[in-house]
Structure formats: structure tokens, C-alpha cells
Symmetry: C2
Subunit: 331 residues, 2 copies
Amino acid sequence: MKSKRTSLQDIADIVGMTKMTVSRYLKNPELVAPSSRVQIETAINKLGYIPNRAPNILSKGKSYAIGVLFPSISNHVFDEVLRGIESITEPAGYQIMIAHYAYSEQLEEKRISSLLSFHVDGLILSESVHTQNTLRMIQGAGVPVTEIMDTRTPPIQQAVGFDNEDAARQMTDRLLSKGYQNIAYIGAKGDVRDLARQRGYEQALKKSGQESIVFRSPEFTSIRLGSEILDDILAIRPKIDAAICTNDDVAIGMLVSCKKKGLRIPEDLAITGMHGHEMGQLISPNLASVITPRFKIGQVAAQQLLLRINGASNIEPFIDLGFEINEGESI
Amino acid sequence: MKSKRTSLQDIADIVGMTKMTVSRYLKNPELVAPSSRVQIETAINKLGYIPNRAPNILSKGKSYAIGVLFPSISNHVFDEVLRGIESITEPAGYQIMIAHYAYSEQLEEKRISSLLSFHVDGLILSESVHTQNTLRMIQGAGVPVTEIMDTRTPPIQQAVGFDNEDAARQMTDRLLSKGYQNIAYIGAKGDVRDLARQRGYEQALKKSGQESIVFRSPEFTSIRLGSEILDDILAIRPKIDAAICTNDDVAIGMLVSCKKKGLRIPEDLAITGMHGHEMGQLISPNLASVITPRFKIGQVAAQQLLLRINGASNIEPFIDLGFEINEGESI
DNA sequence: TTGAAAGCGCTAACAA
DNA sequence: TTGTTAGCGCTTTCAA
């Protein structure tokens, strides 16, 4: 049970050759005598050899792994992004190492440090704000980095995403054009994207002459959060007739709460979300939402990163993949 | 920009010492002359040094990383499990490397091979069935493995979870005792746990003399799937009065569809889920579900694994952490 | 308080 | 067709 891991040498010893021949067999079997091949194959099958990447990482300085950081793995936004990333990395023979950091800059720093200590060849980050230390580490490691989701904040090297501010502005304009008079913005423990959305909302309202009404919870977004804050909001501002939620989870929570209270949507309260998740499209009424190109974001981010890992230097600093507005039935 | 990664030697060169002194400073600063410390510190801050784990992995055969495999990162079941795992690994100084395999044995094999090639010190797997190759690799690597969720299938070394068969049996018994007469089981692209649940359901029905009615979709579970299959099920078996769904996602989808169609829950159709997710407790009516100790499962799995990584040999092969039934309002 | 040497597992380059 | 050598970056051990 405690036997140590099989090495090339172990195999070589069994078949009476040097590890070099075994190594050759693994990479270019045709360079090894057919009779030897059989012996080596047999020995490997018996011992269960697993290649060890450490020596290669050490001598080539390349791991064929890329690090992917998500704020939270329970946030459905990132499922699709991950699928997009893998659609590129998998065929290219790159491993991805996923880590998450609960929206904390400090944890992000720790995770990045850890990923870099395993010598990842590149990083995909989901945040646009980082600690000083993080920036220094990335600099020191000399690896390419792509930041996703946000195309507003100046990136470390490159950003792939969409314009959160514009998305919220357009959604707010829709509500205004439909005649809503008291539109609130519902934020949560705010990352920069949430804040960008709030800005977009505020600008649209300002242009129309309406007063902005912002609620911001210190909690992470969740369906539960959305369902709990409805009462608070109505207590403070009973007259609001529309709520722009920072994302679909919060919006769905509010929507569920409204139904429980007997509020009609959108007659009594219009609700909008962000990202266009499955759940929002299944419930009734369908949730109005900004449909974001999450798969594409992952795909393009990975493509760009691989290009740069392989030496490309003509970096486009911002790649904006746009979004669509789905009015659903909730506005 | 393309400058290569900073090494201890780079720092040593700047301060005019050997890398050995720099290495000492990093591990035991008190062994280094105060004047040297300042110089080294300055150089490190300037260059952004990141320790390189590869040499240590190479010479010690230990990475202080453990591999965690989930079938899907969009399955909410595993959020809590992950938090449980991290509650143990984080303070113990172990890194976790997350990977997912879309419920495919082949992909699982690939992921395990990759994780092992990075020399992870142990593995937490979410599946109880594996390819021959997977078993051989794990054998060859000589790393401890803990399989989670299922305590029915004989584990490679150790299983931590709950009894899916018993959970479904107990839930079925509840429905029977409430007088339901046509209880169906709704499965999906079935892993062994899904199949274990079906067995539990069938046994309970058999004991009561009722006929079992099983629907099984070839798709992965999702809210959408649940919402789409309701019509099919009612078309084939219009008389069913209760549906035991393989998990909460499917159950929530069915529930949403029922509401759209104007079916009353539980009067026209009773619905039950599995795992007790947040969403099920927020919607109306509250979803009946088996509440599983997911955080605890992660915690115990990680504890056991670390113990074994550090040499413990008294392995309890099955650790059953139980479950609770929440009747909610949907039965 | 600092340094020198050796070695972890593998493969590129060269040799036989 | 197979073998030998050297070296990737770091730490352990021994020496100064």
C-alpha cells in the first residue's frame, strides 16, 4: 500500500534496459525495437506508471497548465465560461487548474501565488482589481494574464468581456421607455462590475431626470438574499415600481418573494436580472435579463492566452464581446 | 515582458551571495545576518519572487496539493462539499486542485492522470465506479483516495457519504404513508447513486405491493430537464400522483412546470427532490427533499485523507454521515 | 554566518 | 537501437 510511485527507472529495472529507452518508448515508440516495446508495455501495465511532470516543469519551465480563478464556483455565471475555456484548452493539450477566492483580493493573491508556484503557463482571472502583491507576482512570474468579464477597468495585460456599465444603462433605458417612474438598483457585496452597473443605471436615470434609488447589501448575491431584501426595500421605498438587480440570483429571489406576497409582476413591480440564466427563463413570468456571451468569453480568453503563451505579442488590450437584452415578461 | 521567472539565483546574483543564503532567508530568516536580510528582502521585493514547487516535488515526492474531482461544477451539491473540504485543507496548508469530468469515466481517468502527473498527495473522488486504468493508476501512484457521496459501492480505499438507497426508500415510505397510490421515480443520465435511489424506491414500493413506474432521461439533470419531462410523463402515465425526482434540480423544474400548467402541488402531484438546495426551500410550495450533510462530507473526507497522507493506516472503509428528510409542502 | 556538493526524475544532445 | 551525461531549481547535509 505504501509502495512509492513508479518511476521510469522502476520500469527500466524490470525489463533490463535504461530509463532512456523507456522514455523513448513513451514518446516515440517507433524508435524502440519491437521486442523491447512489448516488454516495456507489459511492465508499464503491471506497475501503472504515471508520468511525472515535475522534472519537465523544472527543465523546460513549462507546465502545460493554465490557472483559472473564479470568485465562486457556485455562481452559475462561470459554468459556461469554464466550458468555453475548456473547449480551447482541451484540444490544445493544456490542463486547467481551477481555484476560487470568495471575492476576496487577499484570497485571490494566495491562490495566484499557489498556482504560480506550480508553474502555470498563464492565468485567467475573473477580477479586474488586485492587490499590489498580486501584480508584482504576476510581473515576476512573467506569465500572460487575461482578465474576463469586465471591459471597463484597465487590465493588467488584456481584458475579455462586455461593458457592464452600458448593459445596465441600456436596461434602465428600457424601463424608462416603458414608463416606470421609481426605478431602484439592487446591488450586493459589490465587485467592480456591480459598481459599474450601478453607474450605468445612475447615468441613465440622471439623463431622464429621475432620482436614483440604490440598495446595497453587504452580502454575497444569492437567491435567498434576493428573497429576503424585498421587504426591507418596500419598507423604505414603498413606491418603487421597478428593480434592476445586480444579477439573476437576486432577481429570482425577489421574484419568488413577490409571488409569495401576491405582488403582480410586472404590474406591481418590474424586475430585471443579469446574465440570462436558465432558471430565469423557466420561471413564470420569464425574467428580463442581460444575456451575456459567457461561453464565448471563456473561449476567446483561452484562445488569446494560448496565443500569448506561444509567443504572440500583438495584444489587443480590450476585447468586448457585447451582450443582448432579453425583456422577458417581468418588465 | 518576456523576462523569465525570477529564481533564487537571480536574487543571489543581485545581492552577491549564494542562493543558499537566500533560501535560508526565506525559511529561517534568523539564520541570516541582519544586514544580509535587508538586502535580500529588497531584491525580492524588486523582482517579485515566486517559490517554485517543482524542485521540492521532485526531491521530496510531496506536493502539499490534493486533487478534488467533481462530476460537474454547476451542480450545487458540490459547493458545500468543497467548502467542507477547504475548511480542513486550508488551515493544514494543503492546496486543492479542482477538476471536473462531466460524469464520464473516461474523462475522469484523464483528469486523475493529470492530477497525479502533478504529483498530488491524495485524491477526493465523487464517483464510485472507475475505469480499469484509473484503478491501476491510483495503485501505481500509491496515493490515498477517498470517494464521497455514496456508501453503497465498495470503495477503492474509503467512502464517505450517506446511503442513497436508504434515502430514497425512506422518502418513498413517507409518500406511501401519506396515501399516494401512483408514485413514479424520475431518473436522469444515471450515475450509481441515481440507480441506488431507484433501487430504494423500488424496494419500498414492492414491499407495499405497488407497481413501480420509472422514467429515466438520458440527459444530465437540470432544472430545464425537469420542466421539460413533465408533459412526457403525464402523457404516458396520466394517473401518477407523486414523483420522486433524482435531485432537486429536476424536482424544481417539474414544480415550475406544474405551476405553469395549473396543477396543484401536492393535491394533483406530489414532488420530492434530493439534497435540500436553497432554491427548493425558497419556492412555494417548499420542496420535500432529503437533506444531505454535504459540508460534513467534504470535511470528513478531507480529514480522513490528510490523516492517511500523513501515514495513518487504520482506514475505516465506510463512513456514513446520514441524512434527514424534510417534508416541505410539496407532499 | 555562509558556502559547496549532491540529488530528486526526466529528456535533449551526443556517443556508440 | 540503446546508452551516457548533464542540467532544470531547490534544499539537505556537511564544511568552513
